[in-house]
Amino acid sequence: MEAQSAVEKKEKEILDIELAINLKDSIENSPITKVASQELKDKILAIDDFELLKVTKTIGSPITIKDAEILNEEMIEHEF
């Protein structure tokens, strides 16, 4: 358990922007991409292919998708 938690601590959480079609492709076809919950996976797969998504993920092996929300122009206006 200690070794496992040490590995978990090493995982780095990052923010990334992806087009939904590309993220869906990774989720469905990449063996190293996992989604934190089935609910989140269903939510992502239901999003229009050409929406931009703000994705929270941990990088490592596997890459775990922790959250994804549609990045709209209001969010860019606010953050940029």
């Binding site: 922007i17 992806e18 087009l19 079609i21 292919d49 931009l52 940029f80």
Partner: protein, 169 residues
Amino acid sequence: MSSKCSITNRGRVDYPFLILCDEHFFRWLKNSNYKSSTISKLMKIKATSLHFNGRHNIILRDQFNIIKTEFPEYLLRAAVFSEDPSPVKDDDDDEYSTYIKHASNISSKNSIPIMILTANPQKDSYILNSHFKDLGGEVSIYSEEDAVKIVNRLFREFEKMIELKRTKI
């Protein structure tokens, strides 16, 4: 230009030209009314480029490292790809010569036109640069609103791809 565009089933677009942005364009964009729409369009173009996936919109690394302190880095990375200047750069080249040489090098290597996007105060520094004068038209310079129109022209190809995909469903 748009007639060259071809569309694939996987949501990729064969865009007819590349974009090379400088830091001055981003600083102008930040204070313009075009900020969010143009950044969003750059992100979608970069993510769907058939032959230059992930590196369709370029900025040179030195300038990226400067502006990433002024803008959220994860948003910048989604809009532009940072890369080192071409090996043809000389030590005494200024930023304009460096950008022009890089644009020319990429254009000739890939047989595709490239548009440098900048701000109005810097446009003449590109146009009057001796390296730019030597080029044969494969590199063009656009600033501010005209630069936004260039992004819009590429984005129209993205919209065509979506329209085509939806009519096939």
